[in-house]
Symmetry: C2
Subunit: 301 residues, 2 copies
DNA sequence: TCAAATGTTTGTCCTAGACAAATAGGACAT
DNA sequence: ATGTCCTATTTGTCTAGGACAAACATTTGA
């Protein structure tokens, strides 16, 4: 047979579970139980790696590892979407056209998806496209991900193609910039960029001068960048997947690094359940970004 | 005093040196010697972290840790850019226009950089733009990074804006795809996407159907994606920063996961010093990607 | 019904030993 | 002088189990 086998470092890479955790689970729960190679080192069969990936995904949804590992294989039932509001027609389940877009991704039809999205963009205009198509579609993909009925590579394809569409649309905008200079980025350990692009599109549309720095900037660097670019506002994005309890500390720390006259905005799914922070403006929706921009302008006038 | 202190996990994040390595160095070389907090856990003063960062950078340039740690503080001299060919006029030092582009980044003039690059793209055409502007410019930025004379956020700005330019150019290409279906991605722990975009631009220009999946795909997922998209070729990119010794193992493992009829290509700065691998085509330059595509086509005819 | 106290679960850190992969240095042959 | 092989050193990663604190769940008390 000689199925493909993985050493512990490879499993760490592929699952996101640290070596310490892998060894600890083996000690405590008796799973995974890897084979040993000629040097006595762990060698995980692909099957166990697969199971670990599934467990990790369910953990990210809020399940506890102890329970998951005990469950034999009908944990497929545990896929039960632990969503607070189970998809009323109002929040995200109603729009059939979103389902069509999602179906294109599921059929791995990249060109078809691009074309359909281009049409929507042309029809709706950028603002409505972002708010009424990209945002809900992203949420739908996130839900599918939690429910386990989308493949990792399908999600990657969606993200990659959507990023391209947004960047293209942003690049096509006219170049006059009356508004504030807004530096857009995310903190280390936050690699998601789609939310940042959505808000960039909306802000650029309103005439703000956006400085996109990509993701994962060390805090001290964000401070330096704000100085160097003479930014008026620093806008950060936190995805729902980002560990919520770290956010207040990060924001406070960054607030200390930034000059007082630079505004600090934080948005994205990760901040929606957060209590207000001194010196930080929390944006709970895309609309709010537009409002905040208008308010900033009046406050400067 | 209470200078800012870092626990071992923070040092790992900030330096890229694994916890194991940090503890081992302490045991073997007597550096770093962190303080201990009330729980007996390592607490690294900022000064030592700074030194570690410097050491890591020099290591990435080819120096050995043993020597570096022994060197007191005049290792600043060791900054001597150990570049193999110290910038002859031929390899990368001659083109003044590249320096102008780099200067725009250093002045944090994003719009100016974008405009200058757009002009070059229009003048040279996509192929020459990629090969003669983007590639050497990327290398130049990498050198500046090694020499420590570029800021992190400057590098981020460069990367972000250049990504946009390339994606825009790719999107503008006509849509007929006679060629093979090529799946483009990178392995986990390899977040760099610029190289992937460069090769995508060249391959798409030659009529290949490129399926961009972004970066950091788990190996098993790459296999599934190749099946789902009926890919003819899987192309991976490894940056110079990627730990070279991990690459052969990764490629072999991926080779086992992929169907035999799917070709596996690996390119980027990380593979340039690699010995040939069975079942894997190593691309040492962008030109080689074009050649490889032509060869694949004749072999299929 | 909410808040505080208690108990469980879980991840990360610790020490210290072993070994193999990578690299450098030296001997030898071409 | 140059290239190849062999040996010695350097260096990173793995292993084992123990300890503990932070996160979470549950029960108690108001």
């Amino acid at each position: 047979m000689s199925n493909p086998c993985f050493n512990i470092a490879a499993v760490e890479r592929d699952t996101g579970l640290s070596k310490d955790v892998l060894r600890m689970w083996e000690r405590r729960y008796g799973f995974p139980v890897p084979d040993r190679d000629s040097n006595g080192e762990r060698s995980y069969p692909a099957e166990q790696v697969e199971r670990l990936r599934l467990i990790k995904r369910l953990m990210d949804m809020g399940h506890r590892p102890g329970k998951l590992i005990a469950t034999p294989a009908d944990e497929l039932a545990a896929l039960a979407p632990r969503r607070s509001a189970p998809r009323t027609a109002r929040n995200s389940g109603s729009d059939d056209s979103l389902d069509e877009l999602l179906a294109l991704i599921r059929q791995h039809d990249g060109p078809g998806y691009q074309q359909a999205m281009q049409q929507r963009l042309a029809r709706l205009g950028l603002q409505s496209f972002v708010q009424d198509t990209v945002a809900p579609l992203t949420q739908r993909v996130g839900e599918a991900w939690e429910d386990g009925n989308i493949e990792v590579f399908e999600e990657h394809l969606f993200t990659e193609l959507t990023k391209r569409l947004l960047r293209q649309a942003i690049a096509a905008l006219p170049g006059s910039h009356p508004g504030p200079r807004i530096l857009l980025t995310s903190v280390p350990d936050e690699p998601h960029v789609l939310g940042l692009l959505m808000v960039e599109a909306l802000l650029a549309l309103e005439g703000a001068e956006c400085i996109p720095l990509g993701t994962q900037m060390p805090l001290l660097e964000i401070g330096r960048a704000a100085m160097a670019h003479r930014a008026d506002i620093v806008a950060l994005s936190f995805s729902v997947a980002f560990p919520q309890r770290q956010i207040p500390g990060l924001l406070q720390q960054l607030r200390l690094v930034l000059p007082a006259e630079v505004a600090l905005w934080a948005g994205g799914g990760g901040v929606s359940r957060l209590t207000p922070q001194a010196g930080v403006l929390l944006l709970n929706s895309l609309e709010q970004a537009i409002t905040a921009l208008a308010e900033w302008r009046t406050s400067q006038a």
